[in-house]
């Protein structure tokens, strides 16, 4: 049986003394799966992403990513094997053109410029962004920016893809395009989102995070359709799972 992509044991982290954003969290992301993490505001979802990225180091407990323990000395190596799509679109694109933004990752790991550029153009073509390759990222629409951030992550051939609120700011059309781009990806994926319909479409398994702990874990169709469970964690049954005459929110 392959080693889990992420293995978290008794992870505790707090921004201030006495507070626990993550409280003895146990979590496993299996190799090849698409795991959704849902939960109310302040549940610890973003803290978890920051921890996996190595920006927050555990107060106690252990985090093992792609077979390596998360430690400062391992960070560069671990990050090079992961792809991140972060919440804020504008924070993630910082180069003068889309093409340059996408090629940064491979150039930084030593790929020759011509090869990196060819790879980036191929990826941008696949996403329908090729005509925008020489555009300034700040001038793109939210949907185009989101696809660009996905391209910046995918070009590094990550073994693990972490998507933090990827459909935030997107209109329904851009959201649909994004989902269709992510759905066929073979990568192990961790999707953190309030967009429960998207989680339902993409994820093979979900966990509900609340107060820094796992409150429930299971199949999306089962968990997200449970009105009592959802209401207990300030969530709502997605529209597509609502039964007629059933109230979605208690």
């Amino acid at each position: 049986m392959p080693e889990p992509a992420i293995q978290i044991e008794k992870l505790t982290f707090g921004y201030h003394a006495g507070e626990k954003a993550l409280d003895a969290l146990d979590l496993e992301v299996r190799d090849g799966e698409c795991l959704g993490i849902v939960g109310p505001n302040g549940a610890g979802k973003t803290t978890l992403v920051l921890t996996l990225a190595g920006f927050c180091m555990p107060d106690s407990g252990s985090v093992r990513i792609l077979g390596q323990d998360l430690r400062r000395e391992n960070l560069a190596g671990i990050r090079a094997r992961m792809g991140f799509v972060l919440q804020n679109l504008d924070d993630q694109l910082f180069m003068p053109t889309v093409l340059e933004d996408v090629t940064i990752g491979p150039l930084k790991v030593g790929l020759p410029p011509a090869e990196a550029e060819a790879k980036a153009i191929h990826l941008l073509e696949r996403m329908g962004l090729a005509p925008l390759a020489n555009e300034f990222p700040g001038h793109l629409s939210a949907g185009q920016k989101r696809l660009s951030t996905l391209a910046t992550a995918l070009i590094q051939d990550p073994e693990l893809l972490i998507l933090d609120e990827p459909t935030l700011y997107l209109d329904p059309y851009a959201r649909r395009i994004f989902i269709e781009q992510v759905r066929p990806l073979p990568h192990t994926r961790l999707v953190i989102s309030h967009d429960l319909e998207m989680v339902l479409e993409l994820c093979t398994r979900i966990v509900i995070l609340d107060h820094g702990r796992i409150a429930a874990a299971g199949l999306p169709n089962a968990l997200l359709a449970d009105p009592a469970l959802m209401a207990a964690h300030r969530l709502e049954v997605p529209h597509s799972l609502r039964r007629p005459n059933a109230t979605a929110m208690h």
């Binding site: 504008d90 910082f94 940064i104």
Partner: protein, 267 residues
């Protein structure tokens, strides 16, 4: 308002006119040549500077740069130029006598010269922005071997100046919606808004740095530099530099004035 003008000019910089198509390095060097010539004239030079205005004027005309944002942005710096030059009127001891016998302080001439130089140099920079997209300008700086840190700073500043302006605008809107009857906030509220903007800026810079780190940022960013330098670009640069040198070294305005005086009826 000025932000909107800057955005409009910046947007126009991505146009497709023949001037837009010129190599950005050629335009940058030409603009540098004109600027250097402008600042190298003696302090009382006024009429001699006028032919140099042809450069930004031609760039704008051929690149069809919109005049409204151009002049709006030009006006922003004008008070500073006035402040810098107005003291010359009182401090310059030299006197000037016109052929008609009227005498006045040479400070007026140096004041006018400072204003003209400001209009010329700022106008040249704005014309350059209106005819060259920012990424291409950055590439030109790299090809000039400008310090990498300078290019990176310029890139990040440009990338986020609009984002920060949006933050500032969002804060202002939030205040205006809650105090619709007041045009300007109290000093205490204004200080709070400024502090809030600072904190937002700090949080944003942290997020940006994180995103950069995740993509392997180690203190340097790789920029593309390949741009085709054609005969047309070389010709453009040589023409501008030759014309600028002629304006600087030859008494063109005297010749033109002398020639004009030879026309019947002109005295």
């Amino acid at each position: 308002m000025s932000c909107h003008a800057a955005l409009e000019l910046d947007h126009h910089g991505r146009g497709a006119s023949p001037v837009h198509g010129l190599d950005p390095l050629a335009k940058l060097l030409a603009a540098a040549g004109v600027t250097l010539a402008a600042i190298s004239f003696p302090k009382h030079a006024t009429g001699e500077l006028l032919p140099l205005f042809l450069f930004p004027a031609l760039l704008m005309a051929l690149g069809q740069v919109p005049l409204r944002p151009f002049f709006r942005l030009l006006l922003i710096g004008l008070p500073f130029a006035v402040m810098a030059g107005v003291w010359n009127i009182f401090l310059d001891p030299a006197r000037v006598r016109l052929p008609s016998g009227v005498e006045f302080s040479a400070g007026w001439l140096s004041f006018l010269s400072i204003l003209l130089r400001y209009l010329l140099t700022a106008g040249t920079v704005l014309a350059l922005i209106g005819t060259t997209s920012f990424p291409r300008l950055l590439q030109a700086f790299i090809r000039l071997h400008a310090p990498h840190a300078f290019v990176q700073l310029l890139n990040l500043l440009y990338r986020y100046i609009f984002v920060l302006t949006e933050e500032g605008r969002a804060l202002t809107h939030a205040w205006q919606l809650r105090c619709p009857q007041r045009r300007l906030p109290d000093p205490a509220v204004a200080a709070g808004l400024a502090g809030n903007l600072f904190l937002r800026t700090e949080a944003r810079s942290r997020r940006i740095y994180r995103a950069m780190t995740l993509r392997g940022y180690d203190g340097t960013l790789p920029f593309r530099t390949h741009e085709g330098w054609t005969r047309r670009d070389l010709l453009f640069l040589l023409l501008v530099l030759a014309a600028t040198a002629a304006v600087r070294l030859l008494p063109l305005t005297q010749w033109l004035g002398g020639a004009a005086l030879k026309f019947p009826g002109v005295q």
